[in-house]
Symmetry: C2
Subunit: 207 residues, 2 copies
C-alpha cells in the first residue's frame, strides 16, 4: 500500500499515452492498480506523439531513433524497468509502430468499461508479443479475445467523428505543453515520464 492516504474527493488523474511509446507501456500496465489504491480515477487519453515531435524537434521519427545514443540507453532501461515491475518484455522488431488505428479504437472506447483492458492488451501486443499493432487484424484479434464486436468497433474507429476526437486529443496535448509520453495531468499539473507516476498520484491525493 504505497499510498494509504486515499483521496477524500473523487479526484482523477489524466494518463496521456501513445501506443508506440515504450515508457507508456510500462506506465499503462501500472497506472490503474496504483491509482485504485490511492482512490483515484484514471482518465485514459490516447494521443499521437509524432505531430509533437515534428512540431517541436523537427523530426519525423522517434527521438530514440533520431538520437541513437539516447535510444541505446532506452532499450536497456526498458529491460530493467520491466524486470523491476515484473512486466513481460520483448524488444519489438519494428519501432515505433504505427499507433494511429489503435489510438482511434481507444477513442471509441472512451469512457466505456472495456477501455482500460483494451489499452493494456494493445500495449502487451506491441511490447510483450511483438505484434504489428498497426494492422487492423491484430486489433481485431485483441477485441475478439475480449468478446467485443471487433468489426463494428473498427468501422467506428475510422469514422470522421473518431478521427476528429484523436486529432483533438493531440492538439490538446500540444496546447497543454506536452512533449512526450507518458504524461500525467493532475489539476493542471503535468508530470512527464513513467517514473513520475508516484509523484503525480501524491500530488492528486495531497491537495
Amino acid at each position: 500500500m504505497p499510498f494509504p492516504w486515499r483521496s477524500a474527493m473523487s479526484q482523477s488523474i489524466e494518463f496521456w499515452f501513445d501506443f508506440a511509446s515504450t515508457y507508456s507501456y510500462v506506465a499503462a500496465l501500472r497506472v490503474e492498480a496504483l491509482c485504485e489504491v490511492a482512490g483515484l480515477k484514471v482518465n485514459w487519453k490516447p494521443f499521437l506523439l509524432r505531430p509533437l515531435f515534428t512540431e517541436q524537434l523537427g523530426i519525423r521519427d522517434s527521438p530514440f531513433n533520431a538520437f541513437p545514443v539516447r535510444g541505446r540507453y532506452m532499450w536497456r532501461d526498458l529491460e530493467r524497468l520491466c524486470a523491476k515491475y515484473s512486466l513481460p518484455w520483448c524488444r519489438p522488431k519494428a519501432f515505433p509502430r504505427n499507433s494511429v488505428l489503435a489510438a482511434r479504437v481507444a477513442c471509441v472506447a472512451g469512457e466505456e468499461s472495456w477501455g482500460p483492458e483494451f489499452v493494456r492488451a494493445v500495449f502487451r501486443a506491441n511490447f510483450a508479443d511483438d505484434l504489428e499493432i498497426g494492422d487492423a487484424s491484430v486489433l481485431a484479434d485483441v477485441l475478439d479475445e475480449m468478446g467485443l464486436p471487433s468489426k463494428e468497433i473498427l468501422q467506428r474507429a475510422v469514422s470522421p467523428e473518431i478521427k476528429d476526437r484523436l486529432r483533438a486529443h493531440t492538439t490538446e496535448a500540444s496546447t497543454l505543453g506536452m512533449f512526450g509520453a507518458p504524461t500525467f495531468l493532475v489539476s493542471g499539473e503535468m508530470f512527464f515520464g513513467q517514473d513520475r507516476l508516484e509523484d503525480a498520484i501524491r500530488w492528486a491525493v495531497t491537495r
Copy 2:
C-alpha cells in the same frame, strides 16, 4: 532508511554531473546521504554536457533552451522537486551558466576530502543563490568560505594537467554512451536522470 540492506562489499557508484545542469543540482544534494545509508562510496565525476549536445543533437545550447516546450516543463518540475526534497531553489537569471572552471576545480579536488562539499556549494551558488559560477571570483569565495587556499586551487585548475583531466572525463562520458546529466554508473550499468538515483543504488546493493 530507504535502503536497509547495506552493501556487504565496498561498492561504489559513479555520479556524473555538470554544474550547469538543473537536475544535476537536485541529485548532487541528495546523492551522498542516500549512498551513505546504503554503504556505498560516491565517485564524483564532473564533465561537460555541451560537447555531447553538439555531437549528438547538433545544438550549441541546452536542450531546454533549444526546445522551449521541454524547457518550460523543466523549470516548473525543478520547483516541485526542490519542494519535495526540501532543497533551496531560485531559478537562475542565466541558464546554462558556463561550468568549465567550476568543473576544473572539481577535477583538482579529485578524491580529496573537500570535493563533495565544494560540489554542493557550487550547485547551491548556481541554483539557490543565483550567482555567476562562471566567474573565478565566485568560485574563490566558495573556496575561501571552506577555508581552502583559493588562489592556488584556481591556478592549478587552469593547468594543462587539469584541463586534460576534464576533457578526458567528457570523452569518457561520450564513449560510455551518456547523453545527459545527472547519470549514475554502477558496475557498467547506466542510470540517467535524478529520479533514477534510487534505482542505481538498488542495483549496486543487490548484486
